[in-house]
């Protein structure tokens, strides 16, 4: 059924992505591609991979942005510009428009944990779900004629054959900066819930009201300049440093 679950799902599984610590290394994207091209959505095909027109299905894409352009917190009238790397994948929205537009029931939201999936066996490849998603979370597989999307690594997180610490999405496991966290947003004690509260986790395009599950942690505000001690103001307290200061000041 492509109607959304009638009652709130008991679990709301999703990701917290820290825009402060993400270094834009693309390890999450590559790891996602590696796992999923052999997993639930196998294969994630590439067309002309070594040719001139490289294309292929990726479920996670890392964009780099420049921000802080008009910041007033930079001090001395300077702008506190900084780079923000932004990994983009499915947000597993509560009011997922990609689910309700599906004419076949292939696109659905699981009632138990809120994960949005595509059943490739009944997808007709009309692409309407990818049009309905403002976040560009879905990519069409031109080889298979069906739509592909993030599964939150459903074949990892419930996989008893994996070690317990590996039962999380491939992107989370791969992140060297620990910028990605996986958990249940319905559990106030989970790491994702706590991080969201502590760091003011934000939704993407909140103006659309789609209630995305995933949260992004905004960059931390830069420390005010001048808080760090300055070398030319060494105290005249006598002793070795005072002697150095006097020698260098001659």
């Amino acid at each position: 059924m492509t109607s959304l679950p009638k009652v709130p799902t008991p679990k709301r599984l999703g990701l917290v992505i820290d825009l402060d610590t993400c270094v834009g290394c693309h390890a999450c994207a590559v790891s996602c591609k590696e796992w999923n091209t052999a997993g639930y959505h196998a294969p994630l095909p590439d067309t002309d991979p070594y040719g001139k027109d490289v294309d292929g299905v990726w479920l996670n894409r890392v964009h780099g942005f420049e921000t802080g352009l008009d910041s007033k917190t930079g001090g001395d009238g300077e702008k506190a510009g900084r780079t923000v790397y932004f990994p983009r994948s499915c947000l597993h929205c509560e009011d997922a428009p990609c689910v309700t537009v599906c004419p076949t029931g292939a696109s659905y939201k699981r009632t138990e944990d809120g994960i949005v999936l595509v059943d490739e066996d009944i997808c007709i490849g009309c692409k309407l779900c990818s049009w309905a998603c403002p976040y560009g979370a879905r990519e069409f597989d031109t080889d298979g004629g069906v739509m592909k999307k993030c599964t939150l690594c459903i074949d990892r997180i419930y996989n008893d054959n994996l070690e317990p610490e590996d039962r999380q999405p491939a992107c989370v496991n791969a992140c060297p900066a620990r910028a990605r966290h996986f958990g249940d947003f319905n559990d106030p004690e989970s790491a994702v819930s706590k991080l969201t509260v502590e760091r003011g986790g934000v939704e993407l395009m909140p103006e659309l009201g789609l209630k995305p599950t995933n949260r992004y942690l905004p960059p931390r505000q830069p420390a005010a300049t001048g808080a760090v001690g300055r070398l030319d103001d060494a105290p005249t307290s006598g002793g070795f440093l005072d002697w150095i200061d006097r020698v260098l000041s001659r």
Partner: protein
Amino acid sequence: MHPAYSVIFLTTATGAGYGLLALLGLLRALDRLPHDPAFGLLALGLSLALITAGLLISTAHLGRPERSWRAFGQWRSSWLSREGVLAVATYIPALLFALGWLVLQRHDGAWVQVGWLAAVMALATVYATAMIYRSLAAIPRWHHPLVAPGYLILALATGAVWLNAVLTPFTDSHELVKAICFAALAGGWLVKISYWRAIDNAQGESSAASAIGLGEVPGFDQVRPLDPPHVQDNYLLKEMGYTVARKHADKLRRLTHLLAFLAPLVLIIIQTASSGIVGLAAAALAAVCVSFGVIIERWLFFAEAQHKVMLYYGADRV
């Protein structure tokens, strides 16, 4: 949005076909059409051919056309599914209507009154087609209150101009059909002018900052793209990243004004003032003009639509 020819053909051909079917059902139920089965065969045949061709070609847009029967399942939530169900269901009153007119040659009673049902279901199908686009909040130029009225009135306008052309050899006086042509063309023109004015002046609700969640974060609410995630076009850019240069769009809009609205209106006036072969030629040319005009209009409807995902790829506001 990428203007896919299969979808442009689907919406314009079925629009004209359902518009024509609706007018045939309505006017015959009101006994305002000639009973001649030759006219019935030509008009209904044209209508059902346009509808059927449009529906068949639309499956070319699918990745797995052999599974298209599955699209009838989710009519509770999906406008695409509703369109499919209504399109198939409309064949029932349409074929009963054709049976009564062409085979049994009954010109009264239930065989004629079923025209009402065919008309209502034909227009409902066009409405469902429009709502597929109207319901997508990710594409603000489609998520607009004038989209559904535009689809309905352009379906009626193309159907009416074709009806006028098909009717001309069979009767001299059909002022009612001409009046419907004028009303639908003028109404469609008004809706398109209002729509274009509205989308040109619309300020996008989402920004690049809100797309990455920083729209309300002090100090970081201004963002601009730096490193793209990939250096060649992917599915998203090919499907949603289509843009048409402003100067080309303006030219195509002028061509739409001319072909879809002005030329058919003038040609039908010429037809009214003349007779014989000139009148017939004017009526036929009007039908050809309005069809090409609406195809260009539909191409623009896709090509000018901006998708919010482009905020991640350099768009400022969508």
